[in-house]
């Protein structure tokens, strides 16, 4: 896990979110990488547009799923951290 997350995360150059019609699943496509975006991942990734802060993304997700903010915050920061380490998110 990286020490810090980007303030306003966005997909790295060469990375995009794509709906795979054959497999009926969201995938994150990057250089020689196909990562399945499961569960809330597509909703999180759609919001990684370089304008929203991590806090805003968490707020929006908590509202979207009418879920406890604390729980959502952990899931979001874990996922973002993992993707930063993989250079899929900057």
């Amino acid at each position: 896990m990286p020490d810090t997350l980007p303030e306003r995360p966005r997909l790295a150059p060469g990375v995009r979110l794509h709906f795979d019609k054959t497999r009926e699943a969201w995938v994150l496509l990057g250089p020689e990488r196909v990562i399945e975006a499961e569960g809330p991942a597509p909703e999180i990734l759609k919001r990684c547009d370089g304008t929203r802060t991590v806090d805003q993304i968490i707020d929006e997700l908590a509202a979207l799923y009418a879920a406890d903010r604390g729980e959502i915050a952990g899931d979001v920061t874990d996922m973002l951290g993992e993707l930063v380490t993989k250079r899929m998110l900057v």
């Binding site: 790295a12 150059p13 060469g14 794509h18 054959t22 496509l29 020689e32 196909v34 380490t85 250079r87």
Partner: protein
């Protein structure tokens, strides 16, 4: 028989023409003629069919794809088909204007080959004076345009002492990803094996060096490795399994389960000129030949790893054992494993450094 999985990747070999002559090239010794190349409209159809059967990523390759004057039209068609579009290039033939247009057409990623960090050595390997300097300039153009860049370095005897420097150079050029790919011996690389093979000591040192450099760049640079399988104990899961994840279309339109598949005698390949990609994927004899595990012999057949490494590489089994259905001799469980090690050690001990440059006149001395 379980259902056939959908492919993820398409390697589109747009042309076999290339200004470089790299001796490690995995293209076949007999290259397709320009006159036989598929036209852009056919490629556009192939891309739509590929997306239709589940392909997500297309790799525009060759030869040098920029040798095609209609590369822009072809790349745009790949993007319009909804495919993640990767350009695999030597940089020769691409300037900032042309690359900028490719970006506007939807190009997602550029993979640039680099032969060495030492310019003289790099140019000698490529068989093209001035290639290295042009590659450095091109890499900067790629990142200035905001395109994602991978540097691919194929490793062999002439550059293996500088793997760490290659990763450092890639990072300095702004690459997000680097591939350190030990030479895989197919096509021209097999022809040149005795001029390319490093010693076991060199390989061990390079692998060790890569461990520390990986740790140093963790989270900053994605580093992918292609392992030197002549010195390995277990085979690579070649292509992620035959006809399981990806397919290849040659410049003239033959659809192959992997780029070296034509080295296996007796396989029947279908052409995209006559068949849809869906038909080819599901029904063509070459794709069905080694799909799954039914074709396996012992020791693969009862091996716990059979759906992990899929018995290794069919083309390598053919080239070294003479039987495409045999266990890849890179596996220590193969009865021929000692032979691959002997071949590696024998070739590594050769003083020969003269290359049979890809696509150029072949000298009279055959490779073993």
């Amino acid at each position: 028989m379980t259902s056939v999985p959908a492919p993820l990747g398409l390697l589109a070999e747009l042309t076999h023409r290339c200004p470089l002559g790299c001796p490690y090239c995995s293209n076949p010794l007999t290259l397709d003629d320009r006159a036989d190349e598929l036209d852009a409209a056919t490629w556009a159809r192939v891309f739509r069919e590929a997306a239709g059967i589940g392909v997500l990523q297309v790799h525009l390759s060759g030869g040098e794809p920029a040798s095609r004057r209609d590369l822009l039209e072809i790349a745009a068609a790949a993007h319009d088909a909804g495919l993640y579009t990767n350009l695999i290039t030597s940089a020769i033939g691409l300037d900032a204007t042309r690359l900028g247009r490719l970006k506007e057409a939807g190009l997602d990623h550029v993979q640039l080959s680099m032969q060495d960090v030492d310019a003289d050595s790099a140019d000698r390997i490529a068989g093209y004076r001035g290639a290295h300097a042009r590659k450095l300039a091109f890499a900067r153009t790629v990142t200035e345009l905001g395109l994602a860049l991978t540097i691919n370095a194929v490793i062999h005897r002439a550059n293996i002492e500088r793997v760490a420097a290659m990763v450092e150079t890639a990072a300095a050029l702004g690459a997000g990803r680097v591939e350190i790919a030990h030479t895989q011996y197919y096509g021209w690389a097999l022809r040149n094996r005795d001029a390319l093979m490093p010693t076991r000591e060199q390989v061990d040192r390079a692998m060790h060096e890569m461990e520390s450099i990986r740790a140093r760049y963790h989270g900053r640079l994605v580093i992918d490795m292609v392992v030197p399988d002549y010195y390995a104990r277990r085979p690579k899961p070649c292509m992620g399994g035959w006809a399981r994840r990806s397919l290849n279309v040659t410049p003239s339109g033959r659809a192959l389960p992997c780029h070296a598949a034509e080295s296996i005698p007796g396989l029947e390949f279908w052409s995209v000129r006559e068949h849809s990609l869906a038909e080819i994927w599901l029904q063509s004899p070459a794709f069905r030949a080694f799909r799954g595990t039914e074709w396996m012999q012992e020791p693969c057949r009862s091996c716990a790893m059979r759906e992990v490494d899929f018995g290794g590489c069919r083309c390598q089994a053919m080239a070294l054992v003479g039987d495409a259905a045999a266990t890849d001799p890179a596996c220590e469980l193969s009865p021929h494993h000692a032979r691959i090690q002997q071949l590696a050690e024998h070739d590594a001990a050769q003083a020969r450094m003269e290359y049979a440059y890809r696509g150029r006149a072949i000298s009279a001395t055959p490779a073993r």
